[in-house]
Assembly symmetry: C2
Homo-oligomer: 300 residues x 2
């Protein structure tokens, strides 16, 4: 698993062949996405979920997503240190991931890594993403269950709710709920939910309070995940489809750009075009149209 994921991270040509080979053997893992702002205590919570999941007899894969930092040369070790409790457990595979800053590269590598763990027979895969950006949201949105972890005490609940992660939650967790403002945060989420209309029988995202460091509220969270899983069994195919669609779109655009830069224009021509844009001889829209019409013109 570790070697396969390294192939993927390094974007080696072998990675595509690998995914091709394992793809027919995927689709059985239950994918849990955990996201939220930095400092929400996601890693500690994931650590607790691993324990619950093991108790239930699952085998686990965990992918912790860290944007590259040149200060650390990759993923910060914090998560791993925290999850060391499970380091000796052969049925728990934990991996931190980082990219080299390529647009969309992180989401691509993460979903491919999840496929590896899926094919390897892990019954549950947890993806933990820090941050609230589009990429991170896309990773978690297409999971089988999306858990949004918030934390009280940032002093500005509205700011936290602005993060664009409200709409993807199947389950809300207010972690560090022993802190001041936990109830206020619950009320904020609640009043946002109150603006939505839920059909009869539709899942209404519950709001749970946890203290990941002590474990308070974690069994209830695990139970809620199980309830959501049972409730959404019929909708699973749709999530899987969204995941595949995201992957297909990402692969298409990535490979298209590679084609343009490495084959069609080449790096020199691409740079020349940028110089012309810089000199304002041509605008980016016209430049894009020119390149595209070259690709399309060749079709006849």
């Amino acid at each position: 698993m570790a070697r396969a994921i390294s192939l993927i991270e390094d974007e080696t040509p072998g990675a595509a062949a690998l995914i091709r080979d394992i793809f027919p053997h995927t689709g059985r893992t239950y994918l849990i996405g955990v996201t939220g702002p930095p400092g929400a205590g996601k890693s500690t919570l994931v650590d607790r979920l691993i324990a619950e999941s093991r108790k239930a007899g699952d085998t686990l894969g965990v992918i912790a997503v860290d944007p590259t930092s040149p200060f650390t040369g990759g993923a910060i070790l914090g998560d791993r240190v925290r999850m060391q409790a499970h380091a000796q457990d052969a049925d728990v595979f934990i991996r931190s991931m980082a990219t080299r800053g390529h647009m969309g590269g992180l989401a691509r590598a993460t979903s491919d890594a999840a496929l590896v763990l899926d094919a390897a027979g892990k019954s549950v895969v947890i993806i933990e993403t820090v941050g609230v950006g589009q990429d991170e949201v896309d990773i978690v949105r297409t999971a089988d269950v999306s858990i949004v972890v918030l934390v009280p005490g940032t002093g500005d609940d509205v700011q936290a709710l602005k993060a664009g992660i409200m709409e993807i939650a199947d389950i809300f967790v207010v972690n560090k709920s022993d802190r001041d403002g936990a109830d206020r945060m619950v009320t904020s989420i609640e009043s946002n939910l109150a603006l939505q209309i839920f059909a009869e029988g539709e899942w209404r995202p519950p709001i749970l309070k946890t203290e990941a460091t002590t474990g308070v509220g974690v069994p209830e969270l695990w139970d809620t995940i199980r309830r959501f899983r049972a409730h959404s069994e019929g909708a699973r195919e749709r999530r899987l489809r969204a995941r595949n669609e995201y992957r297909l779109r990402d692969l298409l655009t990535h490979r298209f750009m590679e084609h343009i830069e490495k084959e069609m224009l080449g790096p020199v021509e691409f740079e020349k075009l940028l110089t012309r844009i810089a000199a304002r001889e041509i605008d980016p829209y016209t430049a894009a149209s020119d390149i595209l019409s070259k690709v399309m013109a060749r079709k006849s």
Copy 2:
């Protein structure tokens, strides 16, 4: 300006024509990017920077970027309310932006909106992004100066530093610096910076403490921005080029996907392909290769 930005937000065909027309008149604005995690007090800080900038005789455009929330139907009004102090000032144009969740759409719309304000003669444009995702980082990274706002008291400094925004900062701001943990946060950033080697004469990102609500530290921040501007005059062309490159890549991939979905395959064929992937008859890599080879095969 408002109408032009609405054209861009709605992704109307007129938007491309508009950018084409105004592009030769752009490149004069000084673009200030402000980012950081939710709750860091960015909007209040931007509000203070507006005041400093006005004192210095600038005319201003401000773009506050909010990911769409279905709860609010778009941008939350908080920022606007906060910035109301400048609402009567004809030389300050403030706009909140939201997208409909399209991948990359937000970054595209934001840079186009900045071009509009640039062409309209605003001498300074401030882009404030919430969040720490790739899109948000890309928006701010290519600004003329990138300001990363952090906040003490999230209880876990390592988490905050994980956000992938450390590397893009020209200036660090520890806001709400009257709070416990402000000095610890400064030390954390400082020890991260200590790992980097700065050449003689190279800009070393300073760390400033501010209290945006009272204005403490804001004049010093403004002064630092001016110093950075003077220091980096020679490197401006490189930033502008990175901005254009980002824009060109984004336009190319966006239009390529439109071509595939609307013309080459059409929505029905695209859906059929997704169904085949869901049935695991074909893997996403092979599907992507098939589509791309169709595009490429047509060239001969």
